[in-house]
Symmetry: none
Subunit: 168 residues, 2 copies
DNA sequence: TTAACAAACCACTTTCTACCACTATTCACC
DNA sequence: GGTGAATAGTGGTAGAAAGTGGTTTGTTAA
């Protein structure tokens, strides 16, 4: 028997899932134990670029903290919170590991037939599959550049090149 | 002191409901246990942007406190309180989970046929459905911008790297 | 006294949720 | 690399819960 190492598991990778007639998607089995907290539930809300974001309880609490301490004036706070919370929903998986996507969120993300579920380390994103494909393709170029910068931060040889690239 | 099993239930999401001929709407089942206090009732009054706000007892008391400690001169205090309290109403659900919307409030919010009920964590808002749709659409743009601002400033994980990158 | 209105509540319909059963896929072991 | 077992994913259903319409009862005010 193997010893189980205490590794901090994280949400990585992308998975495709069909949206069934009832508006359900099955959450990748690998994600479930990480997403589900004490109550076995996690939290959805509107994300950037018209995707849905999903947070484990712990991460959700931190997001709430950010929201509540937002440096906004009264009017903007009110508006922001309204939009934020109106899109929020606590969900939990059924015995088969599926969740029901709230209609408002599905509509927001333009989800109709198929989704891409993307792990981003400590939260997930749920995209309309087509929208995701497009986004990913468009992002590949800039990704390579960003990755290069990240991995080799300004050694003397490529410094000049980096700066040129950044300035365009 | 009782057990502090603090189940952090909150009011999230948006729901649509028809207004029946008697001026009633059914409160989403999910909201009821959170809204209803000891006496099984909660509190309505005029809200911002021509909506109706609904508070659980606990929150209502805090609102009252705010009102009573408002730093206003006599004239304004009088005005404000008059407006505030004239729109306030304690309501409770019938056995089917419905409340009667006071006419004055329905009129204030321009509610005629259908409402959107929005959860904002510790209170709710009741909007005319059409007005809500419009408001939400108009707010989406600024929402993303505000959300970005919120997320960006110095997340602890990448702080160090950011600084390195910035110094070149 | 009665009309108008609000509250309580009965009955029906619709929707949702939990879960059963089957198929596909993955993984372990030979 | 092949085979069987276990796990994951999908379709669907039945019972429970929620939502809606409407009637009856009570209350207030003209």
């Amino acid at each position: 028997m193997m010893t189980k190492l205490r590794i901090r598991r994280a949400l990585y990778g992308q998975y495709r899932r069909p949206l069934d007639e009832k508006g359900r998607i099955s959450i990748p089995a690998e994600f479930r134990p990480i997403l589900q907290g004490q109550r076995g539930s996690f939290f959805l809300n509107r994300g950037f670029e018209r995707c849905i974001m999903g947070y484990p309880e712990e991460k959700w609490e931190r997001v709430l903290e950010l929201v509540s301490t937002a440096p906004l004036d009264n009017t903007n706070t009110r508006r922001f919170k309204r939009t934020f919370f109106s899109g929020a929903k606590e969900v939990s998986c059924d015995q088969q590991g599926r969740i029901l996507i709230p209609q408002a969120l599905a509509q927001y993300a333009g989800i109709t037939r198929e989704v891409a579920i993307v792990g981003l380390s400590d939260f997930i994103e749920i995209w309309d599959a087509e929208a995701w494909d497009k986004w990913l393709e468009q992002s590949m170029d800039s990704y390579e550049k960003m990755a290069e910068k990240l991995v080799q931060p300004a050694t003397s040889e490529n410094k000049g090149q980096d700066e040129t690239a950044a300035s365009t």
